[in-house]
Amino acid sequence: MREVAVIGVGMTRFGRYEDKSSIEHGVEATQAALKDAGLGWKEVQIAYCGAAQQGMTPGTRVLAGLGTTGIPFINVENASASGSTAFREAYLAVATGLYDIALALGVGKMGRAFALASSPEPAEMNLMKAMGSLQPASFFAMRMKRRMKEYGTSIDSLARVSVKNHRHAVYNPYAQYPKEVTVEEVHRSRMICDPVTVLHLCPTGDGGAAAILCSEQEAKKYGTRPLITVAASAFRTQVYSSKKTPSPDVTTITAKEAYEQAGCGPWDMDLVQVHEAATVEEIDNYELLGFCNPGEGERFIDDGVTQIGGRMPFNTDGGLLARGHPIGPTGLAQIWETVMQLRGEAGQRQVEGAKIGMAHMIGYEGVCIIHILKKRL
């Protein structure tokens, strides 16, 4: 396998757009990534597009908008991890030596509410209804309630995740909600599923994000900026787990593989982006990624460890909660943020001296993808 560099990133501002399609977001994000890389569209040899519920072949429709150069454009779907999947496939295309320059793209446009079920099949919908799976937020609410009982995690600590990530988003020009909120405001916002209020949850929205990957050798031709390389690309799905036959969480299994590939451990990171569709997930992920033991994650948020300026900043761009989560592009927005940070171009969000960063996404039904990016010194 060859060393692979990320030479360009670009994204559109996440948010709700009346008159802009996911395809237009894709074209704009790709053009931004190409400009950032100093490349022309005709130099891209293969492309992957991550999207969920955007109609048939969204990537190929973006291709039509950019110019029909005839390259293979592969559409991938892994729910929230669709963009991360596109990035991993583009990485593999270059790492294996089959292609020199690849595009990873993610696009998404959502309605105001999540669809009831992941499947349009009536039989699957009815099964979800039968079990009371009628509101996606209920899953996080039940997890939160259990965590509060098991570890004594307080609702204030959980709210502080939202406060922290909204504060980070203030300095991200591409964030959907660049606005500070207080613990009180989180508590007082609309109740969705006790104790989950709307500010404990990520919003729905639209957007696009893209990255250009190329072989390290090829990358040296472009620009004089610090070279950002892919130190790990790990992808696992959940192993069956029950009370009788327990298995580690998929995040723990995937992280172990990523740390092995990169030859490092959690505390070697300078910053981390994680999937936090709800506040409780970020605290769970401090533990599942190996930064602390189960039940200790609350301290990280209470003591400011995971805010910018803390010992291990998490979700420096605002995370799913405040940067936004249009599904398809989210994993690539994490790559965008990690690359900006490692280059030292993150402005007021900058984590001082950042050299290595991790991006973690979860897709529906136990998909986990982790990438570790490194600044080549």
């Binding site: 009831l116 079920a117 209804k129 079990m131 009371g132 799976s133 509101q135 259990r146 599923c193 009370k243």
Partner: protein, 151 residues
């Protein structure tokens, strides 16, 4: 699966009680008889599942048998759903929870017959049936639910 004897014949034009999914739970005709969840057990490794599976998720064995689950368990967690959701016509708010069954599995269920404020993690729960919603013809769509166990 036992047919639902409480369902009225369609010729009478009366409303029927219909299970939302066939083969997921029983609908006994007698009120004294407890409904049962229909699961499966792997004959090779004896792992139990709900809903039933054709292939064991633990050892991947394909020799599985249908079983009735005990219908009693402990409340693992719960929440009160207050926001409306797409494609659901039933009452809001409602309570949903997870129940740990003695067979070693945790299942999700709507909770009924209780004030949400009275619920506590760890409390004993038992199965019942309840109306989820009504279809266009006015038939009652029935699903299994859990309720605090009578001590």
């Amino acid at each position: 699966m036992e047919s639902d004897k409480s369902a009225q014949s369609s010729e009478t034009g009366e409303r029927k009680r219909l299970p939302i999914v066939e083969g997921l739970f029983t609908m006994p005709s007698s009120p004294d008889e407890r409904p049962q969840l229909i699961g499966s057990r792997c004959k090779a490794c004896s792992e139990a599942f709900f809903p039933k599976r054709l292939i064991c998720a633990h050892c991947y064995g394909q020799d599985v048998e249908e079983i009735s689950l005990s219908g009693k368990g402990e409340l693992y967690t719960y929440t009160i759903v207050r926001a409306p959701v797409l494609g659901y016509q039933g009452p809001i708010p409602f309570v949903v929870g997870q129940i740990e069954l003695p067979e070693g599995l945790t299942i999700q269920s709507i909770l009924t017959g209780c004030e949400p404020e009275s619920l506590e993690i760890g409390m004993p729960m038992e199965i019942t049936l309840g109306k989820l919603e009504e279809d266009e013809a006015g038939n009652e769509i029935i699903t299994y639910m859990f309720t605090p166990a009578v001590q």
